[in-house]
């Protein structure tokens, strides 16, 4: 009996410590996840990546919690897509989230209520990616815009470096979205 008790205690200690940590969250979120609007700058359209920006913006829309539509009025947009022709080394895209207060003042933040996301692709590196990788990249950035942080312990579209070579959000990403919203 003593041995059994000892064994159970050891197992109880080991199981939580060996469990894999799943999705990481910034601690912030959009207040209106069901009515998000995205706008695409002409720099993206002229570069031929309009469809990638559309895909990324709507990549999480199969969740009943997220709803995204395109707007052609930049002032109405939550997500704004831009393209830069500068070679930014190993960075091919990025995202900065902003909170806008009642006075219209903006603050860049991740653990706050989001109102705007500035999403940018860097063409010299982005153009070298495969079709799937470009779609994975735009979906990855929108994952950040929604509040998902990098996740490298389990399969996730929000991995910090490199590619899954899969353009779809993974089950851990959906779990993260469910946890946020």
């Amino acid at each position: 009996m003593r041995r059994l008790t000892f064994f159970v205690i050891i197992m109880l200690y080991l199981i939580p410590s060996s469990s894999v940590r799943a999705y990481e969250l910034f601690g912030g979120k959009y207040r209106n996840p069901n009515s998000l609007k995205y706008w695409i700058d002409s720099s993206v359209i002229h570069a031929g990546y309009e469809a990638r920006a559309v895909y990324g913006s709507e990549a999480f829309d199969s969740s009943p919690l997220i709803g995204t539509t395109r707007t052609y009025d930049a002032s109405q947009a939550n997500y704004k897509w831009w393209a830069s022709t500068k070679d930014m080394g190993s960075v091919v895209a990025d995202c900065i989230n902003y909170h806008v207060n009642w006075l219209g003042q903006v603050t860049a933040c991740w653990d706050c209520t989001y109102d705007k996301s500035q999403l940018r692709i860097y063409l010299p590196g982005f153009q070298k990616l495969s079709w799937v990788q470009t779609r994975e990249t735009t979906a990855h950035e929108v994952g950040h815009a929604l509040g998902l942080d990098h996740e490298d312990d389990v399969r996730s579209i929000i991995l910090s470096k490199g590619f899954l070579n899969d353009e779809y959000p993974q089950s851990d990403d959906w779990n993260g979205i469910n946890a946020i919203y």
Partner: protein, 196 residues
């Protein structure tokens, strides 16, 4: 004698005030990081060495930060830094890289002096003026400058054992402990292998 003692304590007091001032300004600096999609990942020093066109030791002399904005919102940023070459270890494509030359290095970070705000891609921290770094680089495909491999991987501080990297800004966990450990290991190996 009294005058000397008075002068000594006055200087001591003023320098203390000055230090406090600069520390306070550091404390008050706001850090904003962009969540970046990084294409290069290195598990070992050898991988980064093979992937770099240029490996050198240089001293940052100065730098200028640039921003793209949408109204008051920063959408993009970078810094072009002048780096004086001290020693070249690899120059795969035969670029003009001689000791004493100044090259331009694009850093994935920028400092907005007016707003006292530091912007960094994936937790990147700018090189410090007059400090030496071991740099793993490639030539930019669009400008006459070099880019750092793997954003923060290819910038190894030599004047300290610090990583000069912030992966935990604004409650974000850009990297986990395993990755910090890996980065530290690559830096340690690089410091041992490449010396002035």
């Amino acid at each position: 004698m009294k005058k000397i003692i008075f002068l000594f304590f006055t200087i001591l007091f003023l320098s203390a005030c000055n230090n406090t001032q600069s520390e306070l300004s550091n404390v008050n600096t706001k850090y904003v990081h962009s969540e970046s999609k990084i294409v290069d990942e290195y598990n070992y020093l050898e991988e980064m060495e093979n992937d770099s066109e240029v490996i050198l030791i240089g001293t940052k002399k100065n730098g200028e930060s640039y921003f793209d904005k949408d109204g008051d919102m920063v959408t993009g940023f970078y810094t072009i830094s002048d780096v004086e070459i001290k020693k070249v270890f690899k120059n795969e494509k035969g670029y003009a890289l001689n000791k004493g030359n100044i090259i331009k290095v694009m850093e994935n970070g920028a400092f907005d002096k007016k707003a006292n705000t530091m912007y960094g891609s994936a937790g990147y921290q700018l090189m410090k003026d007059n400090k030496s770094y071991l740099l793993f680089l490639r030539k930019s495909t669009t400008h006459d400058e070099y880019t750092i491999k793997g954003v923060y991987y290819g910038k190894v501080p030599l004047d300290s054992n610090h990583m000069e990297y912030k992966g935990d800004l604004n409650n974000s966990k850009q990297v986990n402990n395993k990755q910090i450990e890996k980065l530290n290991q690559i830096f340690e190996e690089a410091r041992k292998k490449y010396r002035e």
